[in-house]
Symmetry: C2
Subunit: 387 residues, 2 copies
């Protein structure tokens, strides 16, 4: 009498190392230690009040049933309008699929693109879930080692050099996690040309759009109607816990994406969708722009402070809320260093090993998702043990 | 320059035929026709007020960040307590994983059990997403043809007869969709014995628990700690649009399930989780029990009325809110019949073909998710065209 063995898929999917850091940080806090959290990948701000209020109104109105699998038509329209007003890109609302977070959008898009043993090219370092989505789908992710020379972003040349018979898609994030760098419009166009010539698909994760400092991001939706664009209400819109995102998809893929969404999710959260209708209102956007300014100030404090401490930050991050910092001066084992910083300095950070394997042991990710006072405190504590 | 072909997975996943019925019903309504909806798979009631209120309070308190991937510890405790108070089954809260709906729970559980080309046995007729989850995972679902003789439920004998080298798991729903029948504790024990002897896993979908009439369902969690039990806040708790469910899993599978949940979902909806904390309160349960009584009355009206019209309902459904009715007297093409009932009678129902292939063209599913007056109206309209 026994259970079957775990599937190879389930065995292969790795935990996030930062979870050990987080668990240890919570244990230290429970024991009375004060911890500066620079490992958290979400805004510290609660959701902006106009969105909260719209959510409460939806609840009062009894909007608690399933919505259509692709989302509320009004929300899909509102998102399409946002592409028009923010980016000057016109698109049919029919191309917008509302999903349970960017997570849901990535799973859907990749499920239509990656069959068994097909290959996805992506950046190393990069967001860890992406390679696990590929593994989940019985496909393969191949990380391309990237460094400061290409601002940690994929290039057409790198993609061409790594393209293989089974390569089907390329995933880019801009601004990227963990590096915060943007990819330029020209580079995107070059990438798209190289990929589409080879019969592949380009998927661009724009979840950190809106969180760029001193510059604006251009959407990949402007490059071609055949680019898959992933976005979310989680980061700029500050709605992580609501679990709502979207996918802009090529028209030819919509029927299949709808079937997949129906079966996998039934529908995205109704309350979140009603609340998100308030996300594009001018009063909401005014609050979000204030927060963006707060993030900019934090970045402008943290990057020089980390350099001063001896971390290497060869490229100024354009956006997101992360600094991917080389720690080669202190350790060649980023996980051990993260543990040491937590135990000795009470500062929690994410080890590079969560983001891939290229130079991962020589990097830490610092998130500036806590207020200036706490960032200053964190830096002061690091100075005490590292200098 | 072209996109890659759709994956075989995405091609194989079928749409729900009822979506065409629903779309046509909406079009008729837009043109001024009155339609009686007996195709909808969710309670007509809005979420009970204590749950709504808890959701609003969570929003007011700013509970809008990610929760742990497995859910809020307090909610996992509350669910464990519910197994104790409702079923007399004690279990560690650690075994409970909060998910985005039963949909999320099914995807997680099956992803740990079904590797590529592995086989899942399930009931035909049955809930359509299940075979698509298997296909999504590059595994196979094999429907076992079931009829009234076994009350549409799998038996140990049927499972033994269909077991193959690649069979890894068996999925049972009790009460079932579309048939509403329960599986007895003894039958569950027999099934579990047969499956575990063969090194397989038993997954039991209990999403319609609480919606049984004149009888109570026993949980498969009482059979063994190694059964995977899926449940949801959607149906009895009336929270479909909130997207919240759970999985009770064997201890050995928890680390892998947590890794999968982290990567696929990040976390379930925070607002929904806070709201669901109010789902088990006595004042909420009192409301839910009133609604259960309303569903019982509807069933007790609808089953004899359908029989009277000439539909065959050989087994009285114990629960859920469906009647799976043989329509052989009227048609051997359930989709065509469903279309005719919609056009001529203004009554929307789900064709049997959505639930499998066994006798599917000879069945319709009637959902009693609308009030008595509307059910009476629907039956009167059907009488006019069928008699
Ligand atoms: C690059 C990137 N993509 C996608 C996600 C998923 O976010 P969500 O599912 O909350 O939209 C994250 C979350 O941290 C991320 O960093
Ligand atoms: C048998 C069965 N299982 C699972 C589900 C999924 O429900 P949810 O994801 O809303 O919990 C449904 C929905 O209709 C169902 O009928």
């Amino acid at each position: 009498m026994s259970l079957p063995p775990l599937t190879a898929r389930a065995q292969d999917i790795q935990p996030f190392h930062v979870m050990d850091i987080l668990a240890r940080a919570r244990a230290l806090e429970a024991a009375g230690r004060d911890i500066v959290h620079m490992e958290i990948g979400e805004p510290d701000f609660a959701t902006a009040f106009p969105i909260i209020e719209a959510g409460m109104q939806a609840l009062r109105a009894g909007h608690t049933h399933y919505t259509p699998a692709l989302g509320l038509p009004a929300l899909r329209e509102a998102i399409a309008d946002f592409y028009s007003s923010r980016y000057g890109v016109e698109m049919a609302a029919a191309r917008i699929i509302v999903t349970p977070g960017a997570s849901g959008a990535l799973l859907l898009a990749l499920a239509t693109l990656l069959g068994r043993d097909d290959e996805l090219l992506l950046a190393d370092p990069g967001y860890p879930c992406n390679r696990h989505f590929a593994r989940f789908l019985e496909a393969r992710a191949r990380g391309i080692a990237l460094g400061p020379a290409s601002r940690y972003q994929l290039t057409a040349e790198a993609v061409a050099a790594h393209w293989q018979a089974h390569t089907r898609a390329v995933l880019v994030a801009s601004p990227a996690n963990p590096t915060g760098t943007l990819i330029s419009s020209e580079a995107l166009r070059g990438l798209y040309g190289t990929i589409s010539e080879r019969g592949g698909a380009l998927v661009v994760d724009e979840i950190y759009h809106g969180l760029t400092y001193g510059c604006d991001a251009h959407t990949a939706a402007a490059v071609s109607d055949e680019v898959f664009v992933v976005n979310s209400f989680s980061k700029y819109f500050g709605m992580t816990g609501w679990r709502l995102g979207w996918l802009v998809a090529p028209t030819a893929f919509l029927p299949a994406l709808e079937r997949l969404a129906q079966n996998l999710f039934l529908a995205p959260s109704t309350i979140a969708q009603h609340a998100a209708l308030a996300a594009f209102r001018p009063d909401t956007l005014a609050i979000l722009e204030e927060r963006r300014e707060a993030f900019r100030q934090r970045r402008d404090f943290l990057v020089p402070a980390l350099r001063e401490l001896g971390f290497s930050v060869p490229v100024l991050p354009d956006g997101a809320f992360y600094v991917y910092a080389g720690c080669e001066r202190f350790s060649d084992d980023s996980m051990a260093l993260a543990q040491r910083l937590l135990e000795e300095a009470g500062v929690a950070v994410t080890p590079g090993v969560d983001f891939g394997s290229h130079q991962a042991r020589h990097h830490l990710r610092f998130a500036y998702t806590t207020g200036m006072k706490r960032l200053e405190e964190g830096v002061a504590r690091l100075a005490r043990i590292l200098r």
